[in-house]
Subunit: 249 residues, 6 copies
Amino acid sequence: MLLHLSTWPEVEAYLQRSQGIIFPIGSTEQHGPTGLIGTDAICAEAIAKAVGETTAALVGPTINVGMALHHTAFPGSLSLRPSTLIALIQDYVKPLVRAGFTRFFFINGHGGNVATLKAAFSETYAALLELNWPQAEQVRCQVANWYMSKSVMQLAQELYGHQEGSHATPSEVALTQYVYPEAIKAAVLDPLLAPSGHPIYNAIDFRRHYPDGRMGSNPDLATPEHGQSLYEAAVKDLSNTYLQFLAQS
Amino acid sequence: MLLHLSTWPEVEAYLQRSQGIIFPIGSTEQHGPTGLIGTDAICAEAIAKAVGETTAALVGPTINVGMALHHTAFPGSLSLRPSTLIALIQDYVKPLVRAGFTRFFFINGHGGNVATLKAAFSETYAALLELNWPQAEQVRCQVANWYMSKSVMQLAQELYGHQEGSHATPSEVALTQYVYPEAIKAAVLDPLLAPSGHPIYNAIDFRRHYPDGRMGSNPDLATPEHGQSLYEAAVKDLSNTYLQFLAQS
Amino acid sequence: MLLHLSTWPEVEAYLQRSQGIIFPIGSTEQHGPTGLIGTDAICAEAIAKAVGETTAALVGPTINVGMALHHTAFPGSLSLRPSTLIALIQDYVKPLVRAGFTRFFFINGHGGNVATLKAAFSETYAALLELNWPQAEQVRCQVANWYMSKSVMQLAQELYGHQEGSHATPSEVALTQYVYPEAIKAAVLDPLLAPSGHPIYNAIDFRRHYPDGRMGSNPDLATPEHGQSLYEAAVKDLSNTYLQFLAQS
Amino acid sequence: MLLHLSTWPEVEAYLQRSQGIIFPIGSTEQHGPTGLIGTDAICAEAIAKAVGETTAALVGPTINVGMALHHTAFPGSLSLRPSTLIALIQDYVKPLVRAGFTRFFFINGHGGNVATLKAAFSETYAALLELNWPQAEQVRCQVANWYMSKSVMQLAQELYGHQEGSHATPSEVALTQYVYPEAIKAAVLDPLLAPSGHPIYNAIDFRRHYPDGRMGSNPDLATPEHGQSLYEAAVKDLSNTYLQFLAQS
Amino acid sequence: MLLHLSTWPEVEAYLQRSQGIIFPIGSTEQHGPTGLIGTDAICAEAIAKAVGETTAALVGPTINVGMALHHTAFPGSLSLRPSTLIALIQDYVKPLVRAGFTRFFFINGHGGNVATLKAAFSETYAALLELNWPQAEQVRCQVANWYMSKSVMQLAQELYGHQEGSHATPSEVALTQYVYPEAIKAAVLDPLLAPSGHPIYNAIDFRRHYPDGRMGSNPDLATPEHGQSLYEAAVKDLSNTYLQFLAQS
Amino acid sequence: MLLHLSTWPEVEAYLQRSQGIIFPIGSTEQHGPTGLIGTDAICAEAIAKAVGETTAALVGPTINVGMALHHTAFPGSLSLRPSTLIALIQDYVKPLVRAGFTRFFFINGHGGNVATLKAAFSETYAALLELNWPQAEQVRCQVANWYMSKSVMQLAQELYGHQEGSHATPSEVALTQYVYPEAIKAAVLDPLLAPSGHPIYNAIDFRRHYPDGRMGSNPDLATPEHGQSLYEAAVKDLSNTYLQFLAQS
């Protein structure tokens, strides 16, 4: 059930049976010479929709732009500053809590979002506890990274081994190829396996060490078929995770 | 050309021929008993994609949640506070300016966004002028409301007359019916023509005066065929507006 | 009744009969070679005082500096950033709401304030609804632009036609001449009718397109007598608007 | 020379001979049963205008609302939060620095403003030094409290001795009587001499200890004639202070 | 009783007998060629610990970095911006108020903190009053500057007379020598008595006028024995001040 | 070399040989019935000082209060909101960068700080890149959690196995016992091994699931001797980590 394709009376009815909502959160950032700039949002959105179907959960609109400041030296990359993303999460959560939602499950496609999301959850809880709303104490937020779910990691290891890398990975590229086969890109990757090992600091330092944007990956290995398998693995894993989240005491 | 389906080298190449980018901006808010909560984002996104094709322009990811605080007494409505949306716009614009973009065209589907967007543009210009980036002086932002384009307003008048209203209008409902025919909703509208005339103040006051969420509209008049006509009218109008924006001295 | 010339027991007594307050809001910005930098504040203040007398309303202190970032490339222009003005409006409104005021009527002299004021009202309503004050739901804010009142626009059209323009207009200059006849300025206007038609972007772009600060106007047409007529028209119109605002269900 | 009654070319000419500007800053807060709510703004504005004339200095618009949170339990009192006032001061100063101003002299009528103003100056200096504007290093801000100038304090001591108190003082009431003789108020003061000695904490605590708003004062002693003497003393003292400020190496 | 060396049940027990807490607040800033960068924090912390022992009060962790923007042109100086320090104070106070604390006593070692602390107290009170917590009205904050306590000022006058100066004073240097005799520094002071009399503006202006960082002081006069005497004087004075603060009606 | 016990000329000299600085960051939060509220700050500070000695590095003042909002339902716990901590980190870093520092190494004692610190680093880098300071591109920040260093984790596993838990662990309690043997606390732990497994949400939820504050730990196992071993292991590990951080290309 997609929030964007629902009416408010449908949401009112949904709240009678569930207080949970899923938000896909991605990023709009370079993913190397062949990866789509929307990769993280595309993956998160596709998986979230299917998790929503599998679990009969409401799925909110995709947060398309995340915390990707370190990618902004590549043209076309956008980012929220962490403090903006913290404000955004609060703004999203508050009216939904007032309406009765208490379980917020963020299906995330971008590692750079995790730290800020966690900070945002903390700040949001504290702000809610100041409001004296009875349901404020019940609110719980969780982030689930699709690329770190057990089945996905196992499959990626089998398919790509050490060529998976950590940014513009064949896994995520494959998943976008499955979702948007019409947007499969070709480019010479040089070197085929991108450099790795340098920590992430600022945007200019990042580009200096990762000149084509990839980190330790060889996305040439990606195929749409892999993408479908990864997608299915992620949907299965995260559906379980979501149901456990709801069932938690 | 969709930013999300492009690679950074493609954006780099695009910048050689154009410094313009289009952002669809909508809202996630109640649209009456039969209107989709995502109506404003759906309309803005669909139109923006077509304007991008018509004008060979780059289209960024949709800003799905806008300034809809006055709708938040209906379940499922989200909103950014104006100060958050101002921060978000700055965050979106700055790295793109650094990359070379100077023309930002926001195709907007929600009246409630306009004031905050204009405030955000002002704050963004001032912040950019403090940065001493040579291109900062060249930056221009414009908001174009699809529902106020000349052809759209004329067509809506012909189709619906005074039953168009101002929120959950048959025009916007029709457009979503055209885009998502599988999500056409049915519900008894009572009264058929919603009340109108009360100004917008806070969320509770809004719901008190507009109990089912509609403002002066009869969305029962909407059909997918109307939606297609309205869509085509909007795309034509806004394509022209965008090209004029680029051509401006 | 001017707040600045009242005592707190007088305000306490006033609250027994009315919960409304009027705030003049202007700007401190260039108004061309002959227009006063305080034009917008002067007009708003003079009209607000008279509206207050006509309607027995309390009039708060003038907000002298508004949102005029686009004028700041001319010496002597000041501006609040939108986010500061949003904070300011909240700060003004909150203690008055706690004291019992629920109707806030801003008589505005500057077009550049409107968007930010509307954003500020939205943010203020939302902040108030979080406070659990019983009267928070009753709070209503309205902005009334004196220069757009029906009688004023009609009179300006009669007096100046297309030479009215949109900044440093003969109307507003005339009104300041009526209020401050000792401060009537003379300068050669070249060209007599200022250029027009370029949208407002950043401060440097603004000055490039409007080199002497005027937009499409010929303020040489202004006379103190016109000013008096415009003033009287505005006071009459806005007094009615204020009373309707109070009477609104 | 009043900024509000000047044109931008006049300001441009003024900058050739001086880089100084004076801002009156007051407050909008209760001043006991007979003191005007605008007392602090009225005093600061009247004195600043005369200092401006005496020293041929430019005088900006009055900051009518200051930091008076502790007075907000009395109806009609307004306040900026300190963080808002800090933002406001930065916003005022920045465009003037860009235009060439480097000396900012705040004539202050309210003790509660001082701490926040000093904090604001510090924050503003630091923000300016980040901008790489050549003149940023030259910027200096100073606050001058008229009620603490040497001649004023001496005169107040002679006229009122220990009945001067520290809020709603006969001195400030007298000065407003001189400026607005038509707004002299009468009320029974009970006790004639207000309580004193309790430090200032929050607004509710304040009103509990100072039930009619006065602090240690007997404003019944005020006369318009005293007001004139105090005004003249303040203008003389602060004119000297301003000139010394400008002359400082 | 040090908060850092206590357990939460010990704090719970403490709250049964007292609702007061002491926070040392210092700064991390240059103190001339021989003064320690931590001088202000070291002094505040040492005195606060002893005041805590003397009065059986709970002492919180030292706020090591204060508002010292004007010192930041000297290497090793840190500062919070005033707006950050205001946020920090609120964050410290709120959970303690929720736990039952209502008296906050800041023992301060740095003049530059005072204005911002006062602003922070005001902003904190106002924020607390919005929360509808019953104890919010009871909250009181006070800053006590050890270097301005009566006995300390008298002793400093006797020991150093006009060579005390106002920054990097022999008093504070002596106190750090008493606390950290192993960190007594030697350097040629040239001139022996630092210049004085120039107001504090921005960091670059400060260093230009106070080239070695001292203001009007001769810290060569400091001895650890003086430091002990000053320390004991401060502890005695501030213990009394704290007890009076608690006893206040 | 402790910043607090150094003079600015000593820092100036230090900068000739190193551009690195270490900041201990802890927290002020409950650590169960026997753990000190200052545990995280005490551990981080003690280790940082020794790492500073081992590596001849400059050590800044301890950040005593971190992000511990989830602990604030226990009396005596403090916390910065994430957005405040983000602002604080920026404020600390900026003047040091201007002075020439480019390597910032945070030795951290509290898991709850990590997410916000990472967010803060990102926001700080982006802010620095806007400043056009030549050294801004060189700035790197790293957080090192002493409790997760390899030797420490191995030792904790050997000493405590599954009784280590994740909050109020015997490891951290032992380390504080070593540093402050005079502050070893005794209390009945019931149950001896605290509950575990519930994720961290808001403060009230936390206390409901972890009623005495411990998470999965048995701090009764701690001894000062263990503490010494853990301390030495941490110092050795983090000294290496710091030197690698400096040596990184």
